[in-house]
């Protein structure tokens, strides 16, 4: 579980996060949603420590991340996996080397065990016969799946995904969403996904945090989203005709 208590973050005079408090639960896909510029990427990057917060607390299973020194943070980071928006695969490494990299750096496995783990992770995300291809030689969907394989290589407790299905076609996007949800259940991870894709929200939104103008505007599940009176959330989620019709049907 990851807990945020009164998190605030500013850049110069611009306050981006205002007093955010929330629990992200283990074994669930927790979604952070909001419009572009609402602060959701800053929130995600603050949770993982890429941005230092101004005030507040962030707990990883009761461990105070904000009070940790660099060494402790480094240790806890080995319990994290992250899937970046663009995949962030290392260009100079093949698919296999990308997944092998965290194992090479941080595990004490033998070479055979490492390769077994690499093949397990690649199989788990349905990547076959592409071990020696480079990131530029595979499709966007495959890059995302390799990024997921790399993120789970060290068997992390916490998985973070920044808009994992951006730039993907709807079918591949659903495949990626379902894959993340399956992996979350399978390994009982605390998964936080940053998205503004409404298909993802309806597909895998077991817990949803809605951020609006840097404030926590709403918190609930994908089922509860249909009954909310929160105007900002309604404007965001049911912006299209299609979703308005879906809302009417659900009500």
């Amino acid at each position: 579980m990851i807990t945020l208590k009164n998190v605030n973050k500013s850049f110069a005079s611009l306050k981006v996060l205002n007093d955010i408090s929330v629990n992200f639960e283990a074994g669930k896909t927790n979604l952070i949603i909001g419009q572009s510029g609402s602060g959701k990427t800053v929130l995600l990057k603050s949770i993982i420590g890429l941005h230092e917060i101004d005030s507040g607390k962030i707990f990883y299973s009761d461990r105070d991340f904000t009070a940790m020194n660099l060494k402790s943070r480094k240790n806890i980071r080995q319990e994290m996996g992250m899937v970046f928006q663009g995949g962030a695969l290392f260009d100079s490494m093949s698919v296999e080397e990308n997944v092998l990299f965290p194992l090479d750096m941080f595990s004490k496995m033998s070479d055979t065990e490492k390769m077994d783990r690499v093949n397990f992770c690649l199989n788990r995300v349905n990547i076959k016969n592409s071990n020696h291809l480079y990131p530029t030689e595979i499709s966007g969907g495959m890059q995302k799946r390799v990024a997921i394989a790399r993120a789970i290589a060290l068997n992390p407790k916490y998985l973070f995904c920044d808009e994992p299905n951006s730039g993907l076609d709807p079918v591949t996007a659903i495949v990626i969403d379902n894959l993340i949800q399956e992996i979350t259940k399978e390994f009982n991870m605390t998964t936080i996904i940053n998205t503004h894709d409404m298909n993802s929200v309806m597909e895998i939104g077991e817990k949803i945090l809605f951020i609006s103008k840097g404030f926590k505007a709403w918190e609930g599940t994908k089922e509860e989203i249909f009954d909310t009176d929160n105007q900002a959330l309604n404007d965001f989620v049911f912006a299209s005709d299609l979703y308005q019709k879906i809302k009417k049907v659900n009500r």
């Binding site: 993982i48 890429l50 943070r73 480094k74 240790n75 980071r77 080995q78 994290m80 992250m82 970046f84 928006q85 663009g86 962030a88 695969l89 290392f90 260009d91 990299f101 965290p102 090479d104 750096m105 941080f106 973070f160």
Partner: protein
């Protein structure tokens, strides 16, 4: 950003760079890759530049010293001294600042804008140390060899130019190359080469590492890296020459 801010930020960056590597085996294999990328892949350009520089120095010396009081072997002597003291270290350093420097700045800058550096940080890897230290060590190790190669090729270029144009006899040129040799000059130039190798790798790494934005900013960072590395090479050349040759 002002000069002092850059100096402060660069100093903090160097503290991150010069820390204990995560894994010795991985670190060593990175150094070998960088030696290949920064050093071995630069042999071609170093040979071409040195060959022509040596040839031109020999011809210019020969044509400007057509005086019966000046012996012919001075052509060989001047070619050796020019290559040894200045051209093979400073000029090759400036050329490599362009070739290697722009390569490093754009490589690290691209990694920054595509979030690959963030990915390293999330894994708990000291990205500055992981990406930059192998480049610095590789360049400081391999550039002295490039310097020695450059001196030899430059002298050979001078020899061939003198022989092919008939401006100086081979025996006179070889005598000149051996005349009045001061071994300390090699130490002096090797020290300069190592300092330049550090500048050529550390400055572009700094500009690439802190790039913000997209492809346009990576290009700008690359240009800044080459310009500032070149200026620093010239400045340090002046300082080192004053310190080491006074």
């Amino acid at each position: 950003m002002g000069l002092f801010e850059h100096v402060g930020k660069f100093s903090k960056f160097l503290v991150l760079v010069v820390s204990k590597p995560e894994k010795g085996k991985t670190f060593f294999s990175h150094i070998i890759k960088e030696i290949h990328k920064l050093g071995i892949n630069s042999i071609g350009i170093v040979v071409i530049i040195s060959l022509f520089m040596g040839a031109v120095i020999a011809l210019q010396t020969a044509y400007n010293m057509q005086n019966p009081l000046l012996p012919d072997y001075l052509v060989g002597y001047t070619t050796r001294e020019s290559m040894l003291l200045e051209f093979s270290s400073t000029i090759v350093g400036l050329i490599l600042a362009g070739k290697v420097g722009s390569n490093i700045a754009s490589e690290i800058g691209s990694m920054r804008v595509t979030e690959q550096i963030d990915a390293l940080e999330i894994m708990g890897v000291n990205s500055a140390n992981f990406l930059v230290l192998p480049k610095i060590i590789a360049a400081v190790f391999i550039n002295p060899f490039l310097y020695i190669l450059s001196v030899f090729v430059g002298i050979l270029g001078g020899l061939f130019a003198g022989y092919l144009t008939g401006t100086v006899a081979v025996s006179d040129f070889i005598y000149g190359v051996q005349f009045g040799f001061i071994p300390y000059y090699i130490s002096y130039s090797l020290i300069k080469t190592c300092v330049f190798a550090f500048i050529i790798t550390a400055i572009p790494s700094y500009y690439g590492y802190f790039v913000k934005g997209g492809a346009l900013e990576v290009g700008k960072a690359s240009t800044k890296a080459v310009v500032n590395s070149s200026i620093l090479i010239l400045l340090s050349n002046l300082i080192l020459t004053q310190i080491l040759l006074k």
